[in-house]
């Protein structure tokens, strides 16, 4: 991979985020909300409203407002929350941290479970193990997360009373308690991902196991194990990288629902509250951060792909 490609991709991310910022800003402009009224309440005097509008620059043309906002964003200042009057950035970063913990744990659990499931299903194709993995996958993919969440809460938290159903404890504060609080949300989001990725791994591996080079490796006298790990898996996992990166998009959406269900104060929950209260700066910042996460993850997937498959020449 050439350094110029690297720079080009980074530039493309910046460009993407710029377009996203335009869209996000545009949408918040057409939302039926008056920031001044939101801040001061329904009973504010016209003078007070005018003063705050002047202070926030709300009476200026839209593009000037956008310019101000963007300039602030570039310096890490996402404005002041209309709901709390506090700066948006620190609160949002804290929420993002919690959501990322959830996301990273989910992806880790998914990889630990989905890869072996997919591999077993592919190796035992047409056998009972394959059938079981397939059934579980189909069920997992077809249930929406609020249903899975409800079932999981019902069984693990209500009947068995194994894990807490709501709340959040930072991992730094009490690791095991924190983990216990994260367990149900992580399980809920990973069900669909595990189903999706294990099916992907299975079908890719089945294809690769039928290639000429895998047969050639077998006919060289290599053991099944060595053929699987040295020849087949490598190539079968390549498309999975792309799928996992795309699934991060789903994950970001899933996080919003799951955080709401489990009362987990992450970025998803934050966004929902922001939208309900017409807290424009928080909505803008939240959406932008989600878009940035998605772009960066896909960029990393491309880098990983090129690193593993030497045929890929990004230029």
């Amino acid at each position: 991979m050439s350094p110029s490609y690297f720079v080009k991709r980074l530039a493309l991310i910046v460009y993407t985020l710029f377009v996203v910022s335009l869209v996000v800003f545009g949408i918040t402009q057409v939302l039926p909300a008056d920031a001044a009224v939101m801040l001061l309440g329904e009973n504010a005097t016209p003078d007070a409203l005018a003063a705050i509008r002047d202070k926030l620059g709300l009476d200026q043309p839209v593009w000037v407002q956008y310019g101000h906002w963007l300039w602030g964003v570039l310096q890490g200042d996402f404005g002041v929350s209309l709901r709390t009057g506090q700066p948006v950035a620190p609160v949002l970063l804290e929420a993002l941290g919690r959501s990322l913990t959830l996301a990273v744990l989910t992806i880790a659990l998914m990889l630990v479970l989905a890869l072996p499931l997919g591999i077993v299903a592919a190796l035992r194709r047409g056998k009972l193990a394959d059938l079981l993995v397939s059934i579980v996958s189909y069920v997992g993919v077809s249930l929406p997360e609020f249903v899975t969440a409800t079932l999981i809460v019902l069984v693990l938290a209500d009947w068995l009373q194994l894990l807490p159903a709501t709340g959040f404890v930072p991992l730094t504060e009490n690791f095991w308690d924190g983990l216990a609080h994260l367990a149900l949300p992580v399980l809920t989001v990973s069900v669909i991902l595990i189903a999706h990725v294990s099916r992907m791994v299975r079908s890719e591996l089945v294809d690769v196991l039928h290639t000429d080079y895998v047969r050639a490796a077998r006919l060289k006298g290599l053991s099944r194990r060595s053929v699987l790990f040295h020849h087949a898996l490598h190539n079968a996992l390549l498309p999975t990288i792309t799928i996992v990166a795309l699934d991060v998009g789903y994950l970001l959406g899933g996080v919003i629902v799951v955080e709401e269900i489990f009362a987990l104060p992450g970025i998803g929950r934050h966004l929902i509250v922001a939208i309900q209260t017409r807290d424009l700066p928080s909505i803008q910042a939240g959406a932008l951060i989600m878009a940035a996460t998605y772009s960066v993850v896909n960029f990393m997937a491309d880098l990983a792909y090129a690193w593993i498959d030497k045929r890929i020449q990004y230029g």
Binding site: D212, Y213, A216, G221, L222, R311
Partner: protein, 533 residues
């Protein structure tokens, strides 16, 4: 003592409708230092036999008889015994090196793993030994080649690596499954020379599988002819070629194209106005991507054709030969408007300066038949729909039944789908489609290269017949020099996008080729040996 011995071997595959016989009472034996050529057309079971010897059969296979290696039965060996035999005592060279090598491992890794597995070498020793093997199979710069990935090596280099790994552990027996079919004629020749050299040096017992009789007659001591799962004839090469006993062998031998056996008699009328004149036609591949163009950068372009000039007389067959990547198909695509081109084409006196000038009239007059009928016939259309398209487009009054009859297919085939036809029949439908508009020029782009020899012979005969009846001119693109010498009036030789020589078929036999590349091509493919019919 025979190294490999197959006795009364039968193989059936279980299908939902019962067992299907793939091989029937096969008897063959190969002694040390001997080469047995196994010849058969597609579907004859030759690859099944190779898999059976390698013990690589699907679970639905049912077997009888015995296969033994130096007296040890392979059919009763356990899986771990087989794994120790494969690669160590029986090697295999596959047809297409571009699919039989793992794209994400270096060539060195794929060679060294055999040595590490079977000879118990450490990684470092295996790597050094692998490098020595690479040098032995004639690869220049073996150290650099070890570190390369398959996509960084040419087809010939890759096949040398595959051969190196087959010979790596000094096996007693090696199976060669059409090892040169996927390669260019010149490269194939070099690989054959390497095979002969290694074979003589190591005295390995070789089973050489091929559909190409002419080729087998040169590499093998003994030949076995496989037809529908049965060995119809077996013996020393000379005996089989000089006095074939079986009818099928005779048919097979007769179908092999022989340059001295001209199929095309007569010449196009001399002094007539040329039908097509190609003037300094160039094709460039590679466009600058939008973002790079914005940045003011230009991508390096690859020349597909460089200033090619030639002409075709009405009713003439002009053969175009050259190795893959020499620009043969690029020219065909340019003439049918599938590629942009520079320069000009004059057709029937009319100047065609670009794709815009190719109007309905031109497209009716210039038709193309592609190499793979599987991809050029729409699998969801019946033959009737496929053939009615050019009729409605160009308004021919011919009926579909007549078109089918012209290519010697029964009229009932009109209601069939392509997958219900054999390879040769599909190609006949593609030919019928090309002739539906009564064209004056038909471009045949390697149309017989995916067909068996006997089918090829029939298709070629059909082409000659159509040419005689309709006076159509052909641009006959092929890599088969013997075939083109049977058919063409003149031969254009292409090399790296350029037309290097244009010679009359009579001059070829009298004065011979002038360009060194043409000579190299001809030397790579000696005409098949004579046989008494």
């Amino acid at each position: 003592m025979n190294v490999l011995e197959v006795k009364g071997y039968g193989l059936d595959y279980a299908t939902p409708t019962g067992f299907v016989r793939a091989l029937d009472s096969i008897d063959l034996a190969i002694a040390r230092g001997e080469v047995l050529g196994l010849v058969g057309e597609s579907g004859s079971g030759k690859t099944s036999l190779a898999w059976a010897i390698m013990r690589h059969l699907p679970p639905r296979a049912r077997e009888q008889g015995s296969i033994s290696l130096a007296g040890q039965s392979l059919m009763t060996a356990t899986e771990s015994e087989i794994a120790a035999i494969r690669g160590r005592r029986i090697g295999m060279v596959f047809q297409d090196p571009s699919t039989s090598l793992n794209p994400t491992l270096t060539l060195g890794q794929q060679l060294a793993e055999v040595l590490a597995r079977h000879r118990g070498l450490t990684r470092r020793q295996a790597w050094a030994e692998g490098e020595a093997m690479m040098a032995r199979v004639g690869l220049k710069q073996p150290a650099a080649m070890m570190r390369r990935y398959p996509h960084e090596a040419s087809g010939g280099e890759k096949q040398r690596v595959v051969i190196a790994s087959a010979f790596a552990c000094q096996p007693e027996c090696i199976l060669f499954d059409e090892p040169t079919t996927a390669l260019d004629v010149v490269t194939a020749r070099q690989i054959l020379d390497l095979f002969a050299e290694l074979q003589a040096e190591t005295a390995v017992a070789s089973l050489y599988i091929s559909h190409d009789l002419a080729l087998v007659s040169r590499v093998a001591d003994h030949v076995a002819v496989l037809h529908r799962g049965r060995l119809v004839e077996q013996g020393e090469v000379d005996a089989v070629f000089d006095a074939p006993r079986d009818d099928y062998t005779r048919r097979l031998l007769a179908a092999v194209p022989r340059p001295d056996h001209r199929l095309m008699t007569g010449k196009p009328a001399a002094g007539a106005e040329p039908l097509v004149e190609v003037e300094r036609l160039s094709v460039h591949y590679g466009r600058t991507p939008f973002l790079s163009a914005l940045a003011g950068r230009r991508t390096a372009q690859v020349a597909g054709n460089r200033e090619v000039s030639l002409s075709v007389q009405p009713g003439e067959i002009l053969g175009i030969v050259g190795e893959s990547g020499s620009g043969k198909s690029t020219l065909a695509r340019a003439l049918t408007g599938l590629n942009r081109f520079e320069g000009a084409v004059r057709f029937g006196g009319r100047r065609i300066a670009g794709r815009r000038d190719m109007d309905r009239g031109y497209r009716r007059d210039v038709q193309i038949v592609f190499q793979h009928p599987d991809s050029s016939l729409n699998p969801r259309q019946r033959v009737r729909e496929i053939l009615s398209r050019p009729l409605t487009l160009y308004g021919g009054e011919a009926r579909i039944e007549t078109l089918l009859e012209q290519v010697r297919l029964p009229a009932a085939y009109a209601e069939r789908f392509p997958h219900q036809l054999s390879g040769g029949e599909k190609q006949r439908v593609a030919i019928a489609r090309a002739f539906a508009s009564r064209p004056r020029l038909v471009i045949c782009d390697e149309i017989t290269s995916s067909l068996d020899v006997s089918v090829q012979a029939a298709v070629v005969e059909l082409l000659v017949d159509l040419q005689r009846r309709n006076g159509t001119a052909y641009l006959f693109i092929t890599h088969d020099l013997n075939l083109v010498r049977q058919l063409a009036h003149r031969i254009a030789v292409m090399y790296r996008g350029e037309l290097v020589e244009l010679l009359d078929i009579d001059d070829l036999s009298t004065t011979g080729p002038r360009h060194p590349y043409t000579r190299k091509l001809l030397d790579a493919v000696p005409p098949p040996r004579e046989y008494k019919s």
